[in-house]
Amino acid sequence: MVPTSYYLVLSAVLFGLGVIAFIFKRNILTIFMSIELMLNAVNLAFVSFSRLLGQLQGQVFVFFVIVVAAAEAAVGLAIIILIHRNRGTLNVENVDSLKD
């Protein structure tokens, strides 16, 4: 039997690591992957609370978060491909103005 607070601490640590990766990495694909890491941390918190409260709405919401993350990944990767095609770089430090 694992206490709920263990899962919540792990979810907080994962989310924090996602934020650190989002801030410190320069490749736009790695930044996008850190967003997925943050979403996974939130999913873990949802499942833990759903287990604690004995309700299934938490797991239904996890289902929806995964679906929305899939849709967002598709569109976001299309945008990244466009950025690479138009700017020639994947480094966010070089993509810093709307005009090129």
Partner: protein
């Protein structure tokens, strides 16, 4: 006292944190993507440990099996190389990373203290039948909306990544 469940949790949590740290530390995005796959599979194990078998299966099939494969396709398609040395000042990195880690440790500590009173729920498998009856009765409208959302995302990605036809 280390029960088998707590031991399993500690092993999976160690794999998860190691994968997340590897995502941050690795320089080539393909290594970060593979580390993220490790994180997702270990998280699916954690969901199974809590009795959420449907969510664990969906996590592996959709998240690790489709979304991450899409990431790896794009990384290979764009020929993403290793990250170059950054022009950010050394001070930002030497002060920022320890501060970030200190903040992380503090947040984790306070969350651990604030939720320690929540206790330990019983471990039992959630039946997919209950979950699906909830999904298709109470939540049928958001469910249909997500299918619409996927259609919109599909069309959007197609239109965005299409090459201009010159005619």
């Amino acid at each position: 006292m280390i029960t088998p469940q707590i031991a399993m949790f500690l092993i999976l949590a160690a794999v998860v944190v190691a994968g997340a740290l590897s995502l941050i530390v690795q320089r080539h995005p393909i290594h970060s993507a593979l580390s993220l796959i490790v994180v997702m599979v270990a998280l699916a194990g954690l969901y199974l440990l809590q009795g959420a078998e449907f969510v664990a299966a969906v996590q592996i099939i959709v998240y690790a099996g489709a979304i991450m494969v899409l990431f790896i396709f794009v990384i290979m398609l764009l020929n993403a190389g290793e990250e170059e040395r950054s022009n950010v000042s050394r001070l930002a990195r030497f002060v920022g990373v320890p501060l970030g880690i200190a903040f992380l440790v503090e947040v984790a500590y306070w969350i651990g203290r604030a939720t320690a009173h929540l206790g330990t729920p019983p471990e039992e498998m959630v039946s997919t039948r209950e979950l699906s009856s909830l999904l298709f009765r109470e939540f049928v409208f958001p469910f249909e909306l997500t299918s619409f959302l996927i259609l919109i995302a599909l069309l959007g990605a197609l239109v965005l990544a299409r090459r201009e036809e010159s005619d």
